[in-house]
Symmetry: C2
Subunit: 530 residues, 2 copies
């Protein structure tokens, strides 16, 4: 498949000649062809108009038909898996096996959402039958269910060129909900996005759906992205990236004449609390696990453990020695973009003025164009609590060790924490049982609590929560990973006293879809007599 | 029970002597004792601090215990029903039977939420058991459920001194979710609020819960209300009132260093579309139903039908004649406050310059202190579409008739509509079946679609949706009435790889609470083997 550099505006392709965007190979620094053309304002508007036109038809599309679309996209990605992973590797320098795995994860989540909407109960159908004889007032028949919001703008993320980009979780869940999507492709991997978008565009056509169900446009985040967020026909926004960019989008969405939900996933330190039993049962394994986690994907995971609380105990020295050894021996990492590499260097230098540098990987012989060396900073709890900047996320392969006299100090640390995606506890079951208050505080601070594991690696499933209080995300009531994430894009609509044939199939008396419904508050798949 | 004029700060009462607030009898204009004392900034802060202290304990309180609290409040209100209705009558001039009914509605919704949390499945527990043998990666055990957000600020509403005020739906649903509440009492019915708060304070004490679970404070909306919305420990806000005040609170919540959900229910025209069969089957009944609906509660319902689309057909003249007759004969209404009466007079005068006055009730002999005369304005569709001000809500007993050449024009009208709480269709089933596109558009514009009924009268049940796209509410993904409304105050938290005894009972393998859970995506009340 030859890349052209043009946006996808429904079933058509955008014009060439707009402001150029070109990917850079982060390993070599070379520019990667083709040059991508930023859309004009008129093209961006056209994509939204197409989405708004497609919405009524797509919103009324059955779960089975939406499932077929999602499976069609997944099949299209399967068919180009090697090419996709290779292009993503050139554009991101992420290892090929990881990228092949990311394609599988991406198709897996598309198929998970297909199953969800094919089964259909996700719409939370509720039926309160009429009570015409009720005194003092009759009750009218009420039936409600979730309906899609409308066109959704999805900002592709730099760190997951597949799983959080053009056909990533946001797209999959928005399409599953019945919302057309307009992707603002991330400028760091435009070719990967083009390959994915080609598959989506084809799948939309194959499914016989309106072309406006999907568009993908190239352009700057500020100008093109901002215009999309402000567009009156856009009904929701998703974004994964930095706190400053995410907050800007939140503010923009909130300041619209009609504010819209803006689901941003931004900044998380993912604190790890080491309890005594963890080090007692073997310091090397904990050090290795922690090292693997904070350097996974060159430390460019939303769930990178960036804050590690360590108790003073006999084994602490051995643990620190092992961790330092791993860092000292680490090869240079390649970051995703020159800007990320520059920020990593800047933020690490700044942190080195605020905390001790406990270990620092050597420069190595052959440094990549976008280099980063693994490093560990260290401080003590009082200094950590005095210096809010120490809790700020650095995007790259570093972490901050916060030395505490004992786990008794962890409550103080936990109370001071901001919102995070995750919080982790390492130790024995007895340790954990002895820290119930700590668990309760952390449950207020994070969306996911992990025991004896590391926060990187986010399962895409029904029970997953990938969200958390601000600044981890804009709204802790939602997750961006797992089947719960579909609820970002839906709202309940109630039909009062409607004739049975005129309500959606999900609400009809006979329950033709066989979904689980709440009838007078009681879950049931049975038909209802009205 | 003697009224004292003091706020409720947890288990204590506030100081006297703050800026005075005094209710006015809208029928007579007389000032009603006692004088209420606005809280100081320190008192408002103290209420929030108490709520934040209470939160960890209250969040961990069982559904049964929360149910007991809600039932205790309901019993306390039952015990003072006559006094409550009488005081509310003095403060609002709403008819006593309506207020007695509103007490019942209020206790009914408290008991509905009690049942919801006693049963317990509302927390949406999900369990994905560990798959240690899965390739290429093992799956950790994941369990998630909804947890309360934290302290919630509830602004009492003027138009429902009981059902949307101190112990109204917002309070009931927030307490049910596990969130302490701080009520900013509406200054128009401080005595009613004091009676209700006395019952709540007693119920909290009787339940042995931390005092900070409930506070109620008197003060100005701008100063005291604003300070509460900006308070860093407050996690969510609810408000029912005007668009301008609601938007101000939304903007304030969005501009916080940590933005919080601000659920405002603001402005709705509740359009009614009259289809031909409605008038064919009897014009008088439609006219009477519409008149009753737009004058119910002196037109001070969120769901008042303020926009009525009428087709040109042989029966139209008779319908308009009957409606005009009803208006011409209407007695003067008493509005809730001098400010509302002043605004109604101002807004009606302005509308009379933009639309024809089709009918206007006489002044009557004995006019109340806060008077309003029923009136109907009329315009045609083109004028309606040209003049956005005509779609703005007027709070009081008026409505606007929009004459259309035929129902074919309704699509044009529907497309132009802003967000509303409700949209109503009157006609035969054949009419309705012939307007599927209209139904689809209205489902994008409103939270509840009504066939052959009127929008006033909101059932408190499982399937109800009392919400809608902006400017009807801040966020159409939520409702403020019915059991779905509890979801405004909860967020999912996931426990990964946790030992069974350390997760909440809702997530434990044995399912000790017997709730419905999603196990690997499949609904079940069975125990799970982990």
């Amino acid at each position: 498949m030859a890349l052209t550099g043009q946006s996808f505006l429904g079933g058509q392709r955008g014009a060439l000649g707009g402001a150029p965007i070109q990917a850079i190979n982060p390993a070599t620094g070379e520019r990667l062809d083709p040059v991508y053309a930023s859309v004009s304002a008129a093209e961006a508007d056209h994509a939204v108009q197409l989405a708004a036109q497609a919405f009524p038809v797509y919103a009324a599309t059955s779960g089975k038909a939406k499932g077929a679309l999602l499976r069609g996209i997944a099949a299209g990605l399967d068919a180009i898996q090697p090419q996709l992973a290779e292009r993503a590797h050139l554009e991101t320098a992420l290892p090929l096996p990881r990228l092949l795995g990311e394609v599988s994860r991406t198709t897996g989540q598309l198929r998970l959402f297909a199953s969800l909407v094919e089964e259909g109960s996700w719409v939370e159908a509720r039926i309160d039958p009429a009570l015409p004889e009720r005194k003092p007032l009759a009750r009218p028949g009420l039936r409600s269910m979730l309906r899609p919001l409308g066109p959704v703008v999805v900002f592709g993320a730099s760190n997951f060129p597949l799983a959080f980009s053009a056909a990533g979780g946001d797209t999959a869940s928005a399409l599953a909900a019945g919302c057309p999507v307009i992707i603002k492709a991330h400028s760091a991997h435009p070719g990967t996005s083009e390959l994915v978008a080609t598959a989506i565009q084809q799948a939309v056509a194959d499914a016989g759906l309106p072309e406006g169900v999907f568009s993908l446009i190239y352009g700057s985040g500020v100008e093109t992205g901002g215009a999309l967020v402000r567009h009156p026909l856009v009904q929701a926004v998703t974004f994964t990236g930095s706190l400053s960019a995410g907050r800007t989008l939140m503010d923009m969405a909130a300041a619209r004449p009609r504010p819209i939900p803006c689901f941003t996933e931004m900044s998380s330190g993912n604190p790890v609390f080491i309890l005594p039993g963890a080090l007692k049962s073997g310091t090397d394994a904990v050090a290795q696990g922690l090292f693997n986690s904070f350097t996974l994907g060159a430390g460019q995971f939303c769930t990178k453990p960036g804050i590690v609380l360590i108790p003073e105990q006999p084994e602490t020295a051995a643990f620190l020695a092992k961790l330092s050894e791993l860092v000292d021996q680490a090869q240079p990492f390649t970051l995703l973009t020159p800007a990320i590499a520059r920020d990593y260097a800047r933020d690490s230098s700044r942190r080195a003025t605020q905390a001790a540098v406990a270990a620092h990987a050597p420069a190595g012989d052959a440094t990549p164009a976008c280099p980063a060396r693994a490093q560990i900073f260290a401080t003590d709890l009082d200094e950590f609590l005095r210096t809010p900047e120490l809790a700020e996320e650095i995007f790259g392969p570093d972490t901050l060790l916060v030395r505490c006299e004992s786990p008794a100090e962890y409550l103080r640390a936990a109370h001071a924490l901001d919102g995070h995606l995750t919080a982790t506890l390492l130790g024995s079951e007895e340790d954990l049982a002895a820290h119930r208050e700590l668990i309760a505080i952390l449950a207020e601070k994070a969306g996911r609590l992990i025991f004896n594991g590391f926060p990187t690696g986010v399962e895409v499933s029904h029970a997953m929560v990938h969200g958390g209080p601000y600044p981890a995300t804009a709204d802790a009531r939602f997750t961006s990973v797992g089947t719960r994430s579909i609820h970002r894009f839906a709202r309940p609509v109630c039909f009062q006293n409607f004739p049975d044939p005129l309500v959606p199939a999900e609400l009809q008396a006979a329950n033709p879809l066989g979904i689980l419904r709440l009838v007078d508050g009681v879950p049931s798949r049975e038909p209802v007599s009205l």
